[in-house]
Amino acid sequence: MADWQAVIGLEIHAQLNTRSKIFSAVSTAFGADPNTQASLVDLGFPGVLPVTNEAVYEKAVAFGLGVGATINHQSVFDRKNYFYPDLPKGYQITQLDEPIVEHGHMDINCADGSRKTIHITRAHLEEDAGKSLHRDYAGETGIDLNRAGTPLLEIVSEPDLRSAEEASTYARQIHKLLTYLDICDGNMAEGSMRCDANVSIRPLGSSELGTRTETKNINSFRFLEQAINHEIERQIVVIESGGRVVQETRLYDPDRDETRPMRSKETAMDYRYFPEPDLLPVVIDDSFISAVQDRLPEMPDEKRARFQTAFGLSEEDAETLSGNRSLADYFEYVASASDPRQASNWVRVELLGRTSKDSFNSEDVPVPASELASLINRISDETISGKIAKTVFDALWQGETDSVDAYINVKGLKQVSDSSDLAPIVTAIIANNPKQVEQYRAGKTKLLSFFVGQVMKETGGKANPKQVNDLVRIQLDTA
C-alpha cells in the first residue's frame, strides 16, 4: 500500500451581515416565512435590474485587510450561467476575473505545534441562491427564495491543506476572523458560513495534483472533518482497487457519514461567464480603503496578547477566551468590571460548560456580562461564598432571576462573616464533637475540614468558609 498525501483546498461562503441584500433592498433576516423576503429583483421578474449595496464593499475590504490581501481598486461583476430551481434568473451574479480581494493568507497552528501559512487565492462578492425543501411535497420540491440575493463573500484557499484537521483549523480561523470583523454573524446552523472542500490525493512525495472532487455546503467544522476524511478514504480505495477518481461535485450526508455525487449537477458544466451588462464597474480609492483600515477592530492575535498582559492570563486561556468575538467582548466586560482571574474561570468553566465556544453569542446567553461581574464582585467582597455563587449562577441561567443582588437578598444567601456571629457556632461544634477534637490534637490535622464542614452545615452553607477555617483553627489550637 502506497503512502498517500491528501491535498485540500477550501471554498468558504460567508454571508455578509448587511441589512439588505446585495442587489435589492430586501431584508436579509433569517427565518422569515417562505418568499416574504423576495422582491421582483430577487425573483428575476421580466424587466428587473440589480443595484449594488454599498455596504458589501466595506465588508469585503475589511476581510481583505484582515488577511493581508491585495484590494483591487476596480472590480466587476460577471454572470455565471446555469439552470437550477433555487437560481431564479438562470444565472448568478458573481465576480470572476476582477474580484475585490486577491492574494491573502491565514496562518494556522498545526497539530505538531508548528505554524503554517495557508494562502488565500481570492475573495469575491456574489449573491446567494434560494433554498429547496425536499420534504413535505409529494412528488414536488418547494422553492423558497428568501435567501436568494443575500450577499456572499466567497473565500478561496490554495490547496495548501494536508489533512481534515488542518482544514477544520483553517476554517475555524476564518470563522473567527469573520466574526471579529463583524462582517458575518458566523451562525453556521443558520447557514451563515458554508464550506466546500476540494479534495484530491497523490502519492506522498509527488508534486502533481490528483483529480479532485468538490464536496459542497458543509455547515459545521465537525462535518467538515468527517466529510474530508471520508472523501480521502474513498479516493484511496478507488485508486488502490485500480479505478480512477472522477471529477465531480458531491454532497456530505451527516446521517450516513458519507459523501455521494450530486445528481442534478452536470459534470462538465459550462458556466459561460461574461461581464454583467446591467452593472457598471465599481472603483474604490485609497481613501476608502484607509477609512476601512482605521475602523478595523482589534484582530484575534492582538486581542489574545492583550488579554494575556492586561488580565494576567495564560496563552491557552487567552486563546480560548478570544476564540470568538462575542465571547471575547463578553469576557472583557466581566474582567474589566471584576476580578480578571475569577472572570476567566467563570467564563471558561461555568459559561462555556453550558454553551458552545464556536457559536457563542452573548445575546443568546441568559446571564448578562454585567450580572456575572456582579456575582464575582460579591465573592470578592465576601458577600457570598464561591459555592453559593454557583447556585446563584444556576438561578440566573435558568431564568429564576435576573439580578444577582436581588436573588441574594430574597434567598438570604449572604455569607456570615462576622466573627462574633461565627465564633459561638464554632465553639458549639467543637464542644459537641470531643472525639474529633482529640483526634485532631493527636495529629489528624485533616479533620479541620470536618469541623469546617459541620459549621457550614449548621449555617446552611452561609458561613464564610475562610473565616470558619481560621476560627476553628484558633479555637482548636488554643485550648
Binding site: 421580466p46 438562470g90 446591467d278
Partner: protein, 495 residues
C-alpha cells in the same frame, strides 16, 4: 357609434389646443381613437391588447385636470406602449407565448412617467417576440401589416408601435431599439422615430433583450411631438444602474435652432452601396438640409461593416442569458405534466419560445461557451470599441451624421423570413449606432413605389435635442411627414 371628433392624424400641438379650448374632451378623443382601432386594426394587427376601459377612466381624470386649469403638455394625449414595457395589472406579453398569461405586477419607469404626465394609454402594441426581429413577423400574435400596404411588413421589432402612429390610432407611441427596432419601422411606416443615447431613459420594467444595447424611444408624426414625449421619459432612475445620472431633459430646446452652420457628416461607405432610388432620396434630403444652411462633410466610418457581425455576437449572447429566467417556475408559460425538472425547463421553453428567439439563444449560448469566448464575445466587444472610436473621430469634424435608415422601403411579408442573414442585413445602418450607444433618429424623406422611406440622423452623446431640432427644421421645409396612408376597412373608407 362615436362620431369621429377629429381627423386621426393630429399632432400633439393640435390636440393640445383642441383639448385646452374645449373643442373636444380627452374622453371624446380617446373614444374616437378606440373606435378607429376597432374598425381598422383587424387588418393591421398593431395592438395585442386594447385597454379601452383604463383609457376611458384615465381620460376622464385628465378632463378634470384640464377643467381645473392644471393641464401639462401631455395631459390627455393618447399613446400606445410597445408590449415590452411592463404595465401593472395589464397583460404584458413581449409578443411571446411565454408571457401570454403574464399580468405584470409592476409598471416600467417609462410607463410610470408618462402616466404621471397625463398620457392616456390606449393599449399595448405588437412586436417581434422579445424584440428580436426586423419585420414584426416573429410575434406569437401574428404579424403586423404595414398600414401603407398591408401585404408589406411595417418593420421591426417595434412594428406595432410604428404602425399605430402611421395608421392614426394614436399620435405617439413608445418603442425599444436594440439594433434599429425603432428607426427601421419608423422609416418603413413613414413616421418619425428616435432612439436616444444609451442610458438616457431607464430600462427598469423594460423586458430585456440585449442589456448593453436596449433603449426605449418614441414614434411620432413629427419631430416636435417626439421631443415632447421623449423628454417626459428621461431622467435618472436609481433602479437602473446603467441609467445616466441626469435630471429630466427638455429635448425641445433646439427645435427652433436653424440649420445654418450645422456640419453634417456623410459616411463615404454608405451612399455608394445604396440602390439608385434610395440614394436619390437621400441626396435630395441632404440637399434640402444644405439649402437650409447646413454643410455636408465627407467622413469615414471604416469599421461599420463589422457592426452586424459584432452585433450578432453581443446581442444573442446577452439575450441568451436574459431569457434564462423563463423556466415556468415563477411566472409565464409552464408545460403540462412535466416528468422532472429537466422536462419542465426544456418543454416550457421549447413550447413557448418562437423560432427566432430559440435561434438567438442557441447562437448566444454557443458564442459564450468555453473556448469560444475570446474569438467571439471578446472580439465583438473590441470591434465595438473601434466602431465607437470611428464615431468619436468623425464628430471631431462634424456635429451630426446623416445615413440611410434601411436599404429600401418595406418589403413584403414572408419575403425574407426564411433567410436570417438577409433579415439581419436590414439593420446594417442602424446597428452601429446601438453599438456606440449614440442617439439616432429616422424621419420620412420620400417614397419609393408609394411606400415611405426615412433617413437617419446620428448624434453625439446626449445630443438628442440637436437631432430633433434638425428634423423639425427639415419638416418645416418639407411635407413628407404629413403623408398618411389610406386605410380601407370593410365598407367604410377614411382619409
Amino acid at each position: 357609434m362615436v362620431a369621429h371628433v377629429t381627423t386621426p392624424f393630429q399632432s400633439i400641438a393640435e390636440i393640445r389646443a383642441n383639448l385646452d379650448d374645449g373643442t373636444y374632451s380627452c374622453r371624446e378623443l380617446a373614444e374616437s381613437l378606440i373606435s378607429r382601432i376597432e374598425e381598422h386594426d383587424n387588418d393591421i394587427n398593431a395592438f395585442i391588447t386594447v385597454t379601452a376601459d383604463d383609457a376611458r377612466s384615465t381620460a376622464d381624470a385628465q378632463d378634470v385636470l384640464i377643467a381645473k386649469g392644471q393641464a401639462g403638455p401631455l395631459t390627455g394625449i393618447p399613446l400606445a406602449h410597445k408590449d415590452i414595457f411592463c404595465t401593472e395589472g395589464v397583460k404584458t406579453s413581449a409578443g411571446s407565448k411565454m408571457l401570454d398569461n403574464f399580468i405584470a405586477p409592476y409598471s416600467a419607469t417609462v410607463v410610470e412617467k408618462l402616466k404621471a404626465a397625463g398620457c392616456v394609454t390606449l393599449g399595448k402594441t405588437n412586436l417581434d417576440e422579445f424584440a428580436m426581429g426586423s419585420s414584426n413577423e416573429n410575434s406569437y400574435y401574428g404579424p403586423v401589416r404595414n398600414p401603407w400596404q398591408k401585404s408589406h411588413v411595417p418593420g421591426g421589432s417595434s412594428g406595432g408601435s410604428a404602425a399605430a402612429v402611421a395608421a392614426g390610432f394614436c399620435p405617439v407611441s413608445t418603442g425599444t431599439d436594440t439594433g434599429g427596432s425603432i428607426r427601421q419601422p419608423a422609416s418603413m411606416c413613414g413616421v418619425t422615430g428616435i432612439k436616444p443615447t444609451y442610458g438616457r431613459v431607464s430600462r427598469w420594467g423594460m423586458i430585456a433583450f440585449a442589456s448593453s444595447l436596449d433603449q426605449a424611444g418614441v414614434f411620432a408624426r413629427n419631430a416636435q411631438d417626439a421631443a415632447i414625449l421623449l423628454s417626459a421619459m428621461t431622467g435618472a432612475d436609481p433602479r437602473d444602474s446603467t441609467c445616466i445620472d441626469a435630471p429630466l431633459a427638455d429635448l425641445t430646446q433646439e427645435l427652433s435652432t436653424p440649420l445654418a452652420g450645422i456640419r453634417i457628416g456623410v459616411p463615404e461607405q454608405y451612399l455608394s452601396e445604396l440602390d439608385a432610388p434610395m440614394a436619390d432620396l437621400l441626396t435630395s434630403a441632404l440637399f434640402e438640409m444644405e439649402a437650409g444652411g447646413a454643410k455636408l462633410v465627407d467622413i469615414s466610418l471604416p469599421h461599420t461593416r463589422y457592426a452586424v457581425p459584432a452585433y450578432y455576437v453581443i446581442a444573442p449572447a446577452e439575450c441568451s442569458t436574459n431569457l434564462s429566467r423563463y423556466d415556468g417556475v415563477r411566472f409565464g408559460y409552464r408545460c403540462e405534466d412535466p416528468e422532472d425538472i429537466e422536462d419542465l425547463y426544456k418543454r416550457s421553453r421549447s413550447e413557448a419560445f418562437g423560432d427566432e428567439v430559440k435561434q438567438r439563444i442557441l447562437v448566444g449560448t454557443f458564442t459564450l461557451s468555453t473556448g469560444y469566448y475570446d474569438a467571439y464575445y471578446r472580439k465583438a466587444q473590441q470591434i465595438r470599441r473601434l466602431i465607437h472610436q470611428d464615431f468619436v473621430a468623425a464628430f471631431n469634424s462634424v456635429d451630426v451624421i446623416a445615413a440611410p435608415t434601411c436599404p429600401g422601403p418595406a418589403f413584403q411579408l414572408l419575403e425574407k423570413i426564411s433567410d436570417s442573414i438577409a433579415m439581419y442585413l436590414q439593420d446594417i445602418y442602424t446597428i452601429p449606432v446601438n453599438l456606440a450607444g449614440l442617439p439616432g433618429l429616422s424621419m420620412p424623406i420620400g417614397q419609393i413605389g408609394q411606400m415611405p422611406v426615412g433617413m437617419q440622423l446620428i448624434g453625439q452623446y446626449l445630443d438628442e435635442a440637436r437631432l430633433l431640432g434638425m428634423a423639425h427644421q427639415f419638416q418645416q421645409r418639407t411635407d413628407w411627414h404629413l403623408a398618411t396612408p389610406t386605410l380601407q376597412a370593410t365598407g367604410v373608407s377614411h382619409g
